[in-house]
Amino acid sequence: MGESMQDRRIWEHPVLSWDRGTPLSISYDGRSVTAYPNETVAAALYAAGVLAFTRSSYLHRPRGPFCMIGKCSQCMMRVDGVPHVRTCILPVEDGMVIESEDPHDSEYPTPARELRVERQELSYDLAIIGAGPAGLSAALAAAPSGMRIAVLDQSPYPGGQLVKQTHKFFGTKESFAGTRGVDIARNLISMLKEHPNVELHTTTQVIGYYPPEGVLIAARAEGVDKYKLMYIRAGRYLVATGAMERTLAFPGNDLPGVMGAGAAQTLMNVFGIKPADDVLIIGAGNVGVIVAYQARQAGINVRAVIDILPKTAAYLVHAAKIRRLRIPIFLEHTIKGAYGDGAVESAVIYQVDRSFRPIEGTEKELKVDGVWMAVGLSPSVELLNKMGARIKFVPELGGYVPYRTKYMETSVRGVYVAGDASGIEEASTAMMEGRIAGLSAAISAGRGTDAMAEERRKAIEWLDLFRESPDYRRIKEGVSKVLIQEAA
């Protein structure tokens, strides 16, 4: 088990299409696997029915990808002799040799050959870490200042989570309301390309920051065994590193087929690959119900969306969209366990009482080959922490978040934050925060104009009003706990 042999690619979709190009061939544990040029190794393997990518260290339990965005490590394999490669962010190349690893085989695995590493010294006026909605908007807002800007992202493709959203966004004209997330990403990227002072570096992972000089080190992968080590000195830094999906503790939560909702979105919507045929989604907030709808668009049968709370936290219209499609939402339900031999084959859910204790006799078994978790996100603040930014645990914002001014400057002068890294909210507000942070970076460097100051004033005003709406008052409260006075 742990594999199914059919091709999982999607060829018909109401919103998306995939320009796949000419197929190429990679080898996986000795067998030949078809891949397409725009795919990552993990995507191509998943399309070929490979579900188990690695094994746990002690019990050797099979593990599959959880995040699909280079954060979780559960997709690590040996590629062309290089061990421990995150295959979910590695673009495929014809003839690549992929081998599954058992981390137990050797404690310190060594590459089959020398890695080629070239060191570069670089300087910019502004370095932005993360090319999602916040990072791209920040770059776009700061670009007219003429500052030399670098945007770094570990993914092979820019756009962050925007590229996975098939639905039109809420909000106003200022936040591109009415445009699908995937199209917003495309627009932002094409607008950015008109600015020759902005460099966009994909497959570039920030691996360190060294105070006091403030050197940021990033590794730009050019193939599996060739890296450019970028030593970056920037006048200003803007951290837009996004968030990490949370998991939930239950028996079988590590079975291949159990993944974050975002991982499922990546497979479905970025690569056009079905992560499963029948799925249980845990969490009926916006992410859960939106992913359920996207699953139906991808031809996947959603058996149930469950939530432990007595009311969905999702926008009513998003939840309503799936109910009229006969996708059930079971409130006050949770998962008892996921079961299967090597991969998910079924899941059992049950009802809970007001103290979240299971109610006897309410168990339901669902035949599913996918369990997707939409149980919240945690801001990715590791880099900010390393940079010395003051951090505080704020439940309303999803976890540890940095203190910031209304201009999105952290407690470290010249270090800005925007998007989910500053608190879990949504793409529309991430874009607005990015705009504010990008403009502020330019203004504080003396490169701003009156028009930019006015644009920033409007963006702050928009954000304040947005957070007056009932669903965001919590966010507003959270932000007030980490708001610091801006420097003069």
Binding site: H13, V15, N301, V317, A320, F466
Partner: protein, 189 residues
Amino acid sequence: MSEVEGTIGIEAGIVTLEDLRREGRLPPPEVLERGVALPIIDCLEDIPCTPCRDVCPTGAITMKTMINRPEINWDACTGCTLCAQACPGLAINIVNYHFGRRSLRRPGYEEYALVMLPYELTPIPKRGEVVRVFDRAGRQLGEAEVFSVMKSPKFGTVMVGVLVPQSIAFEVKGVEVKRRWPGRRGGAP
């Protein structure tokens, strides 16, 4: 009528006609008599979202501020359908209540309404095809003929127009093609 699987109620995403009536979202009889198409806006929460208001050419949809829910002025609405095509939440359908009697003029269809629904799934229904129609809870209300299929490049959302008896005109909220589900082997569920 089929049973609803899952939790019932607005807390679980199921809006009822009663909810809509309470919010003034169902057109009064004298408005229906005008014989134009009218939007039924299933947007009952204060959320920061404005495309329906922004796209309305006559100002029939208003909001106190961008974070409030839409309000409709029936007298100003011309039934242009733009709001239904623009709504990011696919929450607006268009009901032309007296379509059978006033416009269609097909014998036996005097008591039929034309209901246009935003649709972002595959396969796209074809004109003349018989599809299943569903209410807000996903209960099948019956089958209906597809009278029109429209997709404007500006909005990119397909509007599927179905002919249904007036008695269920305000209940219909979803359509499903009777052919197999997209990408699923072995026929409809």
